[in-house]
Every structure is written in structure tokens, then in C-alpha cells.
């Protein structure tokens, strides 16, 4: 629930939260686990039976511990909202998430920095999945139009035996500013991971993405995928990496960078390392202009080139 003295701050964050596609009314429901951070304060929180939620303030941010107990299957998505309304400053958010044996939870995280001019947000998320746990984490960002936001989002996940993890990072509706996304996943036996980043860059935005799968357990499997649409004079560096360290481990990495504009500067490096002869890793990468056949198909139906690009990109980044 919202702390009474932070009601107006919540309303402001909620406004941008909804602009980024969230449903702010969910923060007011008692049957939904939620936590709202503004600057270095937790201004609202709620939890349900079987989910332990703790938080404390830091000098420039907050630290959060969230544990879903063994066997608990959280029905509604857990909502996290991190906001920062001032134009300048720094925010550090440390999140420790643990899912017990056979627990299940889906997370929906929105980060809203609508006024950032010289603002840095650093989020470090440690995720621990116990045996047979299932977790999905969707991180959606909403930044200012000025491009003055710097974001560093670091995820380190350990997946226990037979656990399943899906992590997505989306920054597609507003300016990026400077962004670094790092997702590293360590998988035990028969664990499954799917990690994905989708970013739409404009003007002089800069994006760096590192996605890494460590397939340490027998028959573990994972996919790491990045999609970047780079326009104007934006820059992007993408590294998708996979280690096949165990028998029958299977991994696939994929990077798609579409460019539009004469001054973009994008690059991708796929890295595959196999330490077990029975492991199997594959990769797929493409950089370049929009698929001409797709463009021409839509233009032949009456869309301008820009309308066609918008529709194609909207679909790809969905």
C-alpha cells in the first residue's frame, strides 16, 4: 500500500508508469505483490502469504529482498516500479530475489525516469531459483525525451535443477540515453533459460548489451536474443555469449540489429565456447537495413516507407 505522505509522489510516478504501459491500479490491490520505489525511498509495498518482502534505504537508493517460499505459486504478476522524478542525480537499486523449490512467480518491472537530464540509474539484480522453480521477469523502461538518462541494468541468475527462467528487457517507447544491459545466467542440470533484450535507439543514444549463458548442467538449455533498431547517429555494441560446459547442453544466441540512417554505428560479437564434446551451441546474427521484401510488401499496399518501418519495428520489438 502507498505510504500516506507519498501519495502525490506515487500519483506522479503512476502517471508515467501508465504511459509506459503499466496498470497503476494494481499497486493498490491487496492480492498483488508490489513495491514502489521513488528515488531512495520505498513509497509503497504490499505482499501476500508465502512471499516475503523486505526493503531498506541506501545512501542513493534502495535494497530489496524478495523471497517466494517453497511450493508457492504466485497467481498475479509481482509488480515492481522504480521511479526518479528529479532531472539530476543517481539511483542505486539492489534486488535479491529467491524462489523456493517448485515456486512460481512472474515479475513485471517498470522503471520510469521521465525528467532525467543528468541522471544515472544502476540496478543490480541477483536471482536464485531453487529446483523446479519457474520465474519470468519483464523489465520495461520509460525514459525522458532528452536522452540524459544513463541506465545500467545487471542481472545475475542462478538456475537450480529443472528450473525455468525467462528474462526480458524492453526499452522501445522513449529515448534510451546511455544503456548497459548485462544478463548472466548460470544453469544447473536440465534448467532452461530464455533471455532477451529489445531496444529502439534514436538520435545519439548508446547501447551496450551483454547476454551470457553458462550451461553448466547436463541437458540444460538456453536462448539469448537481442534485437536493436538503431536510427540517426545512435551506437550499439552487442555481445551474445554461451558456454556449453556439460553433456547435452544446448544453447542458441541470436542478435538482430536493424539500422536506418547514415550515421549509425552498430556491432555485434557472437561468442560460443564448448567445454564438453556433447554440448551443442548455435548462433545467428544479422546487421543491416530493414528487410526490403517486408518493406516493399507493405509499401505495395499503400504505406509510406516510414509507416512501413514503424509497423515492422513495432512488431519486432513487441
Amino acid at each position: 500500500m502507498i505510504e500516506s505522505n507519498y501519495q502525490r509522489e506515487f500519483e506522479k510516478i503512476a502517471e508515467y508508469y501508465e504511459k509506459s504501459g503499466g496498470d497503476a491500479s494494481r499497486f493498490l490491490r491487496r492480492d498483488i505483490v508490489s513495491i514502489i520505489v521513488s528515488g531512495d525511498k520505498v513509497i509503497g509495498r504490499n505482499t501476500v502469504e508465502g512471499v516475503e518482502l523486505k526493503a531498506k534505504g541506501l545512501e542513493n537508493g534502495v535494497e530489496i529482498w524478495l523471497e517466494v517460499k517453497d511450493g508457492i505459486q504466485v497467481e498475479n504478476p509481482i509488480h515492481l516500479c522504480t521511479g526518479y522524478l528529479k532531472p539530476e542525480g543517481t539511483q542505486l537499486v539492489l534486488i535479491h530475489t529467491k524462489l523456493g523449490k517448485a515456486a512460481k512467480a512472474n515479475f513485471l518491472s517498470h522503471c520510469v525516469f521521465p525528467n532525467g537530464k543528468e541522471f544515472t540509474h544502476r540496478m543490480i539484480s541477483d536471482i536464485e531459483l531453487s529446483e523446479s522453480a519457474k520465474m519470468s521477469y519483464e523489465d520495461v523502461h520509460f525514459h525522458s525525451k532528452d536522452g540524459g538518462v544513463t541506465v545500467e541494468a545487471i542481472y545475475n541468475a542462478h538456475l537450480g535443477e529443472k528450473s525455468v527462467f525467462r528474462n526480458t528487457f524492453h526499452l522501445t517507447k522513449t529515448r534510451v540515453g546511455k544503456l548497459k544491459v548485462e544478463m548472466k545466467v548460470n544453469l544447473d542440470k536440465e534448467a532452461v533459460a530464455e533471455i532477451e533484450s529489445k531496444v529502439y535507439e534514436k538520435q545519439d543514444d548508446y547501447v551496450e548489451i551483454i547476454e551470457e549463458l553458462n550451461l553448466n548442467g547436463e541437458r540444460s538449455s538456453g536462448i539469448a536474443k537481442s534485437v536493436v533498431f538503431a536510427t540517426d547517429s545512435s551506437k550499439a555494441r552487442i555481445i551474445n555469449r554461451a558456454y556449453g560446459n556439460a553433456p547435452y547442453a544446448r544453447g542458441h544466441i541470436e542478435c538482430k540489429e536493424i539500422v536506418k540512417g547514415g550515421n549509425v554505428n552498430v556491432g555485434t560479437i557472437p561468442e560460443l565456447y564448448v567445454k564438453d564434446e556433447k554440448a551443442e551451441l548455435t548462433h545467428e546474427a544479422s546487421i543491416g537495413r530493414m528487410n526490403v521484401k517486408q518493406l516493399e510488401t507493405l509499401m505495395a499496399k499503400g504505406l509510406t516507407e516510414n509507416e512501413a518501418i514503424e509497423l515492422i519495428v513495432k512488431g519486432m520489438l513487441k
Binding site: Q294, E296, T297, G302, L303, K314
Partner: protein, 247 residues
């Protein structure tokens, strides 16, 4: 009227179309027959102004408007459209969004449902994606529904039956009938008799030129007799018969 005058197109020093001249009258259904590699799809690409087919000589006119310097979008604005033999797929775009062109067409759900019904798809398809989860036949049907909804002045259907089971000729006939009723000129590229027979007029292409024209019955008979088991594709000059069986 769409008129092509002396269209010549070469690629990698190979002549694909040789000074082709042809006129397509408003509201008529045409079948362009010919074996693989005779230049039928190239003709489609040139009419639509696709990027790979812009470097040609000769003139194209829609009524009195020269198409030569117009791109795909400008030609589409004049009412020309093309359904590719193998329609491309789009990640993350639903059939509803695709048929509505991202909202630009402002079609009602009833209009879309009607077009889907015409091509044998139910309303349940609206939320599905135009991606690899559709079979080749389903994707082709979606494309035909899209063409119907655009209400084009001129449409080129490149092998409208490819990827669709042979039992679906009636569906294609219904689509062509609907387009004709709406006043569209339909140019069907095909080598299937059943499809060609839906046309008002037919042409036989070989070696990048028109070999014969006539009724679909005449051209199909000509094709079956001389082209079905052809051992000299794109070398029609080695065939002695000229205009005997067809006009």
C-alpha cells in the same frame, strides 16, 4: 489502362525481358502463362517498381501517367499492388494489424472477418501473428484477404495458388470474382490450367517475350501441347509453330 512499351530487363548479362509491349485493360482478368524462368515474376516486379527491377528500359503508363520514376509507394497510391508468390512474414504483427495496415485502412472487424471468410479463414485468426507460425497456405490466404481489402485498381497475383492445396481453387475463384466485381484489373501469373481458366484473356510468355495471346482455352491448349514438356525453355525460336494454334 496499364501499358508496357518495349520493356527490356537484363540481369547479370542475361536478358530476362525482351522489348515486351503489352496492354492491360481496366476491369479485365488476365492470365500470364509460361514455364519457370521465362520472366513472369520479373514482369510483376517491374510493374510494381520493386527495387531489384528498377533498372530497365522501355516505358510503363497507367492511363496517361508514366510510372517510370515512381517508387513502390507512389505506384500503390495510384492503385497498383502485388501479391508475391511467397509472401514475407512479419514477426510480432497480428493478422488484424496486417490487414488493417497498422490502422491506416480503418477497417471494421466485420469487413476484416468477411475478407477472411472469403479466403477460408475464421475470425479466430485475427489475433495470430503473420510469422512462421502460419503455414505457407495460411500465409497465402492472409495475403489474398489483404489484397481484397485494399480494393486495388490493378493487382498482380504471382502464382496465387502456390502453397495452397489444389482443393482451394474455388476460394481463389471467389477472390478473383470479388476483385473483378470491384472493378479491379487482375493479372494472374500462373502455370496452372485451373487458374488460367478464370481469366478473360491469356498470354503465353517464353524467353522474356510474349509468344501468344488469346482466350484462356486457346493459350492453355497451346501451353499443354508445346510447353508442358518443353526441352528448349526460353528458346522459342527453335519451335517451328508460330501463331497457328493461338492468335
Amino acid at each position: 489502362m496499364l501499358a508496357l512499351k518495349r520493356i527490356r530487363y537484363e540481369k547479370s548479362e542475361r536478358v530476362i525481358l525482351r522489348n515486351m509491349t503489352i496492354e492491360f485493360e481496366d476491369g479485365k482478368i488476365y492470365a500470364m502463362l509460361g514455364n519457370n524462368g521465362v520472366g513472369k515474376s520479373t514482369l510483376a516486379g517491374i510493374i510494381m517498381g520493386l527495387e531489384n527491377y528498377r533498372e530497365h528500359t522501355g516505358e510503363l503508363y497507367l492511363d496517361d501517367i508514366s510510372l517510370k520514376d515512381l517508387g513502390v509507394f507512389e505506384r500503390a497510391k495510384l492503385g497498383i499492388t502485388l501479391a508475391l508468390q511467397e509472401p514475407v512474414r512479419f514477426e510480432g504483427i497480428t493478422i488484424d494489424e496486417y490487414l488493417n495496415l497498422g490502422g491506416k485502412l480503418r477497417l471494421s472487424q466485420d469487413e476484416i472477418a468477411e475478407a477472411l471468410k472469403l479466403v477460408g479463414l475464421s475470425k479466430e485468426y485475427l489475433g495470430r501473428y503473420v510469422d512462421s507460425t502460419l503455414s505457407g497456405g495460411e500465409r497465402k490466404r492472409v495475403e489474398l484477404a489483404s489484397i481484397v481489402l485494399i480494393k486495388p485498381k490493378i493487382v498482380i497475383l504471382d502464382e496465387p495458388d502456390s502453397g495452397i492445396d489444389i482443393m482451394s481453387n474455388e476460394m481463389i475463384k471467389a477472390v478473383v470474382g470479388k476483385l473483378k466485381k470491384a472493378g479491379s484489373t487482375v493479372i494472374m501469373i500462373t502455370h496452372r490450367e485451373e487458374i488460367a481458366m478464370m481469366a478473360d484473356e491469356a498470354y503465353l510468355m517464353c524467353g522474356g517475350r510474349l509468344l501468344a495471346s488469346g482466350t484462356p482455352q486457346e493459350i492453355v491448349a497451346f501451353y499443354k501441347k508445346l510447353c508442358d514438356s518443353c526441352d528448349h525453355i526460353n528458346k522459342p525460336e527453335s519451335e517451328k509453330i508460330r501463331g497457328g494454334e493461338a492468335k
